[in-house]
């Protein structure tokens, strides 16, 4: 539904030129919820805005549906108002001089296709009901709460029934509680409508809970693309492991290839999953999530690593205890049940299942 090939975007700011997107390829399938995830300045919003036509890339091709909207090779640039898209902005961009009804009716009134005023009324009502804003038609837009404005923006983006919905951090201006509720509602809605969605966020939780596919971006490039399970469970890159969730990193060198393979680290030899095609002697980083580290209890399984260390710090987090255990010169973090019987200064043995330890190229 959305194909992007070799996209490059540069733009000017007061502080000089920014090379925001440096060669992006992606393919969003019909009905998919596709998320661009990354830290600020990684080029995710610029990519989204290029799909909307709000940025002018200097290289690349973009196809939305079956319409080529950008082709620098063939000198095609379709302006935003001729693209079959709906978009929700980070600020919601609700026009303050119009009421709720007029905000939603705007895309219909500006459409190439003429709508009768009856049809406009029906469609606006339907769109507002969809986002639970029915009955607020005559409310002046500035008199809406943040959550209502967000839903109004969504209704405005959907009213024309576009083939593609673009969402630019639509939840970042809501408070934490509302954000959590809205996450599910929003995914439900777009899934029900079957609309192809391109979503931009810097919030990993949003990305993991809402998406079918996540593309993690850094410095204008996609570093890993996959399902939420793949992105969280099998990061292929130190950046991804670091950006999504908490991770422990153990630097080392491959000692023996195989599945599991062995990696020699200052904290000892670790049995772990190795990346494809790696050779012995190559530098790697072993990544392990804090929740995958257990305290030793009973017999050690065949595919487990055991490290010995001393508890340096315990932080009570409410739903968990976070321990920092010094293993050699390295601090390893682990997440325990809050009732775990641990104390600062205890010497403990850590169990790291080999299947949860993943080596990535350093």
């Amino acid at each position: 539904m959305i194909q992007i090939q070799n996209l490059h975007v540069r733009y000017q700011t007061e502080r000089g030129e920014v090379y925001a997107v440096r060669g992006i390829d992606l393919d969003v399938k019909q009905g998919q919820f596709f998320t661009l995830l990354g830290p600020s300045g990684c080029g995710k919003t610029t990519t989204l805005r290029s799909v909307a036509g709000l940025e002018r890339p200097f290289e690349g091709e973009i196809v939305v549906g079956d319409q080529p909207v950008l082709s620098c090779r063939r000198k095609i640039y379709v302006p935003p108002y001729k693209r079959d898209i709906g978009m929700v902005f980070q600020s919601y961009a609700i026009w303050p001089h119009m009421n709720v009804f007029e905000n939603v009716a705007f895309p219909l009134r500006e459409s190439k296709k003429r709508f009768s005023s009856d049809e406009i009324r029906t469609r606006v009502r339907k769109a507002l009901a969809m986002v639970q804003l029915g009955g607020l038609e005559d409310r002046p837009a500035p008199f809406l709460s943040g959550g209502q404005q967000q839903r109004l923006a969504l209704a405005r983006a959907l009213v024309k029934e576009p083939r593609v919905l673009l969402l630019d951090e639509p939840l970042s201006n809501l408070d934490a509680k509302l954000r959590e509720e809205t996450r599910f509602e929003m995914r439900e809605l777009v899934k029900r409508l079957g609309i192809t969605t391109l979503y931009v966020t810097h919030d990993q939780l949003e990305a993991l809970t809402m998406s079918d596919v996540i593309a993690v971006m850094d410095s204008g490039r996609i570093v890993q693309q996959g399902t939420p399970l793949e992105i969280y469970g099998a990061p292929q890159d130190r950046f991804v492991a670091n950006f999504i969730g908490l991770s422990n990193f153990l630097e080392g060198r491959v000692k023996r290839t195989g599945q599991p393979g062995d990696v020699e680290t200052p904290s000892g030899t670790i049995k772990c999953v190795l990346p494809d095609g790696i050779a012995a002697g190559e530098a790697v980083v072993v990544v392990i999530r804090p929740e995958d580290v257990n305290l030793d209890a009973g017999a050690v399984g065949q595919n487990e690593n055991v490290l010995e260390g001393k508890i340096e710090a315990i932080v009570y987090m409410g739903d968990a205890l976070e321990c920092q255990v010094a293993v050699g010169t390295k601090l390893i973090r682990l997440k325990l049940h809050p009732s775990s019987p641990v104390a600062r200064g205890n010497t403990v043995r850590l169990r790291l299942p080999a299947g949860s330890c993943r080596a990535v190229r350093a």
């Binding site: 909307a52 302006p79 961009a93």
Partner: protein, 574 residues
């Protein structure tokens, strides 16, 4: 994509070239004319060029007197203006003086009184022979009583000083209001008494802003033609603006246009220099970040037994600035012939002057000309400023920075210089049927007001979140529809505000129209008043002036109300 982008930006290039032409063409003619040795602009040719005009101007001892007069007049009125404005702003913002509402409402109203009329009113009060006050002094103390002569540098300084107050007051009030009170509280807990806190902390912190405001006032005083025109010309006291006017318009011998241009060049350089200084000072003032943007109310000094005297002084300013000129005009407009107030006068008062206005054909035609000229100027300024600001703020047009500077440049050009420049331009571009029409005046004003218009629009456009515009594009609205349905309604208060501001100014400025004046065909109200005053029809001038002041007052109230509404919607929207 070059071809495509050129097509896309065709209208932007069009506006760019238009502004470039409108600003640079008159200036080039001004410069060329200053080197012209031909006697008349019509005889101008590139063979007859030389430095004669500059030599004449530089060797004329009158030029140095002119220079001294201008410096004394500008510095004096700026000093009077800033002292009054600071005192008033301090009284309303930082003390517990009662009746502040009179000042908040009244001071901006003084903007409504045209300088020309204010000066004329003071002539009626303080002219050595006919001035009411001087006559009163003679009645009280005999024929040898000292007279106060308003036809003097002192008179000009006093009056221009009064006129500089409202703008400076409006600039200073927000500064005083939003100043972080903890800076002063820190001085207080360090043991400083209230007055030494005021002197050592408050005023020091405000100093850069005060200097900037003062330079702004100096720019205004330098530019003004009407006050020195009414008060200085009859006594032969010239400043730059009136001297140039005198060379071109009132010389008994053949006017020497080239010399007027050469003098205008000197004048222009001084004005541009002052403007440059002002923009530099603004940059420096911003470095003192005493304003943190939080809405707090600074502590107010208890005036104690000085409360009532302070209010009396503040009200005296309002009386001298608005009430007195208005009362003088109202009184004179009912007189069959000019005389000082006495009990007998009330018996012979008449409406004859008002009736005369209705019958006198020139008034009707001047009124029609004024309405057309002012309406065209205000509309053109609003539309042009909007488009220029839109390109400057919202487009990626390559020349947007330059366009912005071009639009701001006329701000530094005094009205008289603009007038003489356009005089040359329209005279030489005789294929355009503009010379001697009200449209010539309209074009001149539009360029002059473009600086104000674009500054207001730039600020307003920056307030509009970019995503409000982009949301319209992705909703299917092409650029011109976006402009119409998003920008115009959102900017309506600014568009209206600029429109009324331009009307208020275009109606009362006499300097530039006088330079372009040719006869009844392009006579506007300001020129008519000027001419009638010159010819001595004082009661008739008083009748027109009274009516004009009432209209301008109503418009000023409208601007204030619009301003309040804008603030209200910003609060709701924000």
């Amino acid at each position: 994509m070059v071809g495509e982008s050129l097509r896309h930006h065709l209208w932007q290039h069009g506006i760019f070239l238009l502004i470039l032409f409108l600003v640079l063409a008159p200036l080039s003619f001004l410069i060329l004319g200053s080197f012209s040795t031909a006697r008349l602009p019509g005889d101008f040719s590139l063979d007859k060029m030389g430095l004669v005009n500059y030599l004449k101007v530089y060797t004329d001892p009158g030029t140095y007197e002119l220079f001294t007069n201008t410096v004394i007049y500008v510095a004096g009125s700026a000093l009077v203006g800033i002292s009054l404005a600071v005192s008033l702003a301090w009284l309303v913002e930082r003390t517990n003086m009662p009746g502040k509402i009179f000042l908040y409402a009244g001071v901006p109203m003084t903007l409504a009184v045209p300088g020309m009329l204010q000066a004329m009113a003071w002539v009626l009060l303080l002219s050595p022979r006919i001035g009411f006050i001087n006559q009163l002094l003679k009645d009280l103390f005999g024929p040898d009583a000292p007279v106060i002569d308003v036809y003097s540098l002192g008179g000009m300084i006093f009056l221009e000083g009064l006129r500089l107050v409202p703008t400076a007051f409006l600039m200073l009030v927000p500064l005083m209001r939003s100043m972080d009170p903890s800076l002063e509280e820190a001085a207080a807990v360090s043991g400083a008494r209230p007055l030494s806190t005021l002197r050592k902390v408050t005023l020091r912190l405000l100093a850069p802003a005060l200097v900037a405001v003062m330079i702004y006032q100096a720019m205004t005083a330098l530019e003004v033609f009407e006050i020195p025109g009414i008060l200085g010309l009859p006594a032969g006291i010239y400043v730059f603006s009136t001297k140039i006017y005198a060379i071109v318009r009132t010389a008994t011998f053949m006017p020497v246009y080239g010399q007027a241009n050469a003098l205008a060049m000197v004048y222009l350089f001084i004005a541009v220099g002052t403007t440059f200084l002002y923009t530099r000072m603004i940059g420096r003032a911003e470095r003192y970040t005493i304003i943190t943007g939080k809405g707090y109310r600074p502590r107010q000094l208890d005036l104690g037994k000085w409360k009532i005297p302070a209010l009396a002084c503040a009200l005296l300013f309002l009386f001298l600035s608005i009430m007195l000129p208005f009362l003088v005009f109202l009184y004179a407009s009912f007189l069959p012939y000019l005389q000082a107030p006495s009990w007998n006068v009330f018996k012979i008062m008449t409406l004859k002057n008002y009736r005369l206005l209705a019958e006198y054909g020139e008034v009707a035609s001047a009124l029609k000309n004024t309405v057309l000229m002012v309406g065209a100027t205000a509309t053109a300024t609003v539309v042009l400023s909007f488009i220029v600001s839109f390109i400057v703020i919202r487009s990626k047009f390559w020349g947007r920075k330059l366009l912005d500077q071009m639009a701001f440049m006329p701000h530094a050009i005094p009205g008289i210089v603009m007038g003489i420049a356009f005089f040359w331009l329209f005279l030489k571009l005789d294929f355009l049927p503009l010379y001697g029409t009200i449209w010539a005046i309209s074009i001149g004003f539009t360029i002059s007001f473009l600086a104000y218009g674009t500054r207001s629009m730039n600020a307003a456009l920056l307030q509009i979140h970019k995503e409000l515009e982009e949301a319209a594009y992705v909703s299917g609205a092409p650029p011109w529809r976006t402009m119409w349905r998003i920008f115009v309604p959102l900017l309506m208060p600014t568009l209206m505000g600029v429109w009324i501001w331009v009307v208020l100014h275009a109606v009362r400025i006499a300097g530039m129209p006088l330079m372009l004046y040719e006869g009844p065909k392009n006579q506007v109200l300001a020129i008519l008043i000027w001419n009638m005053w010159d010819e001595g029809y004082v009661p008739a001038v008083a009748a027109i002036g009274t009516l004009l002041m009432l209209v301008l007052l109503a418009l000023t109230v409208a601007v204030r109300l619009l301003g309040f509404r804008r603030q209200a919607t910003q609060v709701v929207g924000g």
